[in-house]
């Protein structure tokens, strides 16, 4: 493989990253090969472009998960973390993981393990979200109708109002917890897969 072909393949494997990340990495390896006394030896020593890309993406995923966590802690209105961009990073990391040159049965096993993990986590999040939603759906009409009931029988109406408000409160807190849980899960997965990517390339 020539330097040109190698850099082209590397670019292909990095294409989902932000443009700046791609250009910086390509410039680095372009320079790297120019420095090496023997271009071909350097290319062989470096390993497959998929592996090199996996490490770059892995590091990117881990560090952006960390930054998201830090900015969440700082909680400035200006540096509000975007959930969709971190979901995108997770997706990029997953693509890179399956682009790695590994034996087919191993890749298949890994695929099902990760799929099972994703389904489990998604189910947990969904369960919490459904609980929150159900409490909201039940709470709102209860609060509204409690006023009508108050005219018929005051104590029952007040009890209904209380129950409805309690439901709405739970809806809010469980909802908030679900959002935080989702963010933590996305970050955790991103870090996990990122580290896997860095490691997978480590021995190659």
């Amino acid at each position: 493989m020539t330097k040109k072909e190698y850099l082209f393949q590397l670019r292909q494997n990095l294409k989902h990253l932000p443009a700046f990340e791609i250009e910086t990495a390509i410039a680095y390896y372009d320079e790297y090969f120019s420095e090496a006394e023997n271009e071909f030896a350097a290319i062989n020593k470096l390993g497959a472009p998929q592996t090199v890309a996996a490490k770059i993406i892995g590091e990117y995923a881990v560090s952006s998960a960390e930054n998201a966590k830090n900015s969440e802690k700082a909680r400035n209105a200006a540096s509000k973390p975007k959930t969709d961009s971190s979901l995108k990073t997770l997706w990029i990391a997953l693509i890179a993981l399956f682009a790695l040159p590994v034996a087919f049965p191993l890749a298949l096993a890994l695929f099902f393990v990760i799929l099972a993990l994703l389904i489990t986590l998604f189910s947990i999040v969904l369960a919490f979200a459904a609980t929150s939603l159900a409490l909201g759906i039940a709470g709102i009409p209860m609060v509204i109708s409690s006023f009508a009931v108050m005219f018929l029988h005051l104590p029952t109406g007040i009890a209904m109002l209380g129950t409805g408000l309690a439901g709405l409160g739970l809806c809010y807190f469980i909802g908030l917890g679900t959002v935080m849980l989702t963010k933590a899960i996305v970050r955790g997965l991103q870090t996990m897969i990122g580290k896997l990517l860095i490691k997978k390339g480590g021995t190659a």
């Binding site: 990340e21 910086t24 420095e35 470096l46 390993g47 490490k55 990117y60 390339g201």
Partner: protein, 106 residues
């Protein structure tokens, strides 16, 4: 070598080499490769992350009609490196105690 280089150690080594002499990626990789058994593709992601975190700064210098990207350590990086070195001495000593003196921590 029986012992492998952890990510945290590699960060500190990269900062350490650059703090002594500002250098470019290929040279740095060769220097680190002499001591640690790491694959050559490991160095770039580390450099990129350390730059992103404000530990390193880059500048380009022309060389044989192209550019060489040099890395230099920032004040923040120097501060971090100092902490890393202090931590390393503590860690090294406690490991040594475990290996040779039965782990009695003074």
């Amino acid at each position: 070598m029986r012992y492998s280089m952890s990510a945290a150690l590699l960060d500190a080594c990269v900062l350490g080499v650059i703090s002594v002499e500002e250098t470019y990626g290929y040279d740095l990789t060769q220097k680190i490769g002499m001591t640690a058994d790491i694959s050559e593709s490991t160095v770039y992601p580390v450099l990129r992350r350390l730059s992103k975190d404000g530990m390193l700064d880059t500048y380009d210098r022309p060389f044989e009609g192209r550019n060489r990207r040099y890395y230099k350590i920032t004040d923040k990086g120097t501060e971090f490196l100092t902490e890393c070195i202090a931590d390393w001495y503590v860690y090294k000593e406690s490991v040594e105690k475990l290996m040779t003196a039965g782990g009695c921590v003074a």
